[in-house]
Symmetry: C2
């Protein structure tokens, strides 16, 4: 199975702008990407990045520093830098770029292609195993609000369209093509980290680089209100 992680480093996570500067959002997006890549690898697959242009990892100020951090955290096993990851460059928008990768199915270059979003900071090997092992010509892990956070495609007759309510649209597209659909019921895969309110999920449910980055940046769980959120400590 080819496991693809689309990622763009240009103005990432813009909806986090109320709580993070553009430089911070970029750092945090890279940390989430690293967590996703690590989880895919731990699930037994080789992650492949799909990027609009070659990844300028030197522009990520944490690349050097975090390698040593991770070495420590993982008990000595050095993490492969993002720059050394298998990468496909496609400068088209997300939907045509992903459909470009899915053409491997028609070409016979892959029997299955998985697309896993780079902001699934809560992804674990167990959750990804459930995704990769789900039945169906198409298996979908829906995101909150009707998105498609991760999917596995096994039939060349399916194409993605990430615009709008893509979960519903993808189910319809599969039905129209007489393809079976598996749905993966996972809170971890349903949680894409887009908005300030999502940060609490990272702090509560993960212990990876993204959570460490948030804590270093002063974020902590704030349960002083009836709805739990995050609070950023004065720096």
């Amino acid at each position: 199975m080819d496991v693809i992680v689309p990622f763009t480093a240009r103005d990432p996570k813009s909806r986090l702008a109320p709580v993070l500067s553009v430089a911070e959002r970029r750092e945090f997006a890279f940390e989430m990407l690293r967590d996703v890549v690590t989880a895919i690898e731990a699930a037994g697959h080789e992650p492949e990045l799909l990027v609009p242009r070659p990844l300028d990892v030197t522009a990520s100020p944490l690349e050097t520093e975090t390698v040593s951090e991770t070495t420590e955290r993982a008990g000595g096993a050095a993490e492969k830098p993002l720059a050394d990851r298998s990468t496909t460059v496609d400068d088209r928008p997300l939907t045509p770029a992903v459909n470009g990768v899915l053409s491997r199915l028609a070409d016979g270059d892959a029997a299955a292609v998985a697309i896993v979003m780079a902001d699934l900071a809560l992804a674990t090997p167990t959750a990804l195993h459930r995704l990769f092992g789900a039945g169906g010509d198409v298996a979908i892990a829906p995101g909150r609000g009707g998105g498609t956070n991760a999917l596995v495609v096994r039939d060349p007759g399916f194409a993605v369209d990430y615009h709008g309510t893509s979960y519903r649209d993808h189910r319809r597209a599969a039905a129209d093509a007489a393809l079976s659909v598996g749905v993966v019921d996972s809170m971890r895969l349903a949680t894409d980290v887009d908005e300030p309110g999502d940060l609490v999920e990272v702090l509560l449910h993960t212990d990876g680089r993204s959570a460490a980055w948030l804590r270093d940046a002063g974020f902590e769980v704030d349960d002083s209100e009836s709805r739990v959120g995050v609070r950023r400590a004065d720096e």
Copy 2:
């Protein structure tokens, strides 16, 4: 296993006030309760209601009407009215009332007690099977924002406290009591329907009474914005 569904009909779902009148919120809360009760029964357990006072089902204007609807929907099998459900009345707040039920474990009256919130409109028999079958002295299905949407308790040494970040607090309480914890990774069980933004999940992922009620009330999926939500049609 005793499967308990706490429910109060007094000013339910107050955070839905921006989009639903108090009478509508009450109707919708009853419909969600019915969906949850039906899913528990389909998962092979007899649901038991935990209410602060005897349930005045005649105050639910849909009780009669919806029985016939459900009869039709379920292909002829009449649904048991809520008034005929096993019910425990406890007028204390949620936390002490639930701990009152958990005392059955110490008394030897139950080997396991499950607590399932009444607003889990996305709950399916499959998701509940995963909860009921999860390992651990305590098994928790976390909700968004750190809540405890459903749990199974098998040890009398555990008590709930629903205030604040209860998922984190329950994990700590279990650890302090040297109890093992299972975590159920389910988007369906993680989705408690509290706020207007949650309604889209009901429309997208369920086909039960709650979704039918929302559609009848004029709600539909609105994907005209970048973030998908719901829109209420002009009446």
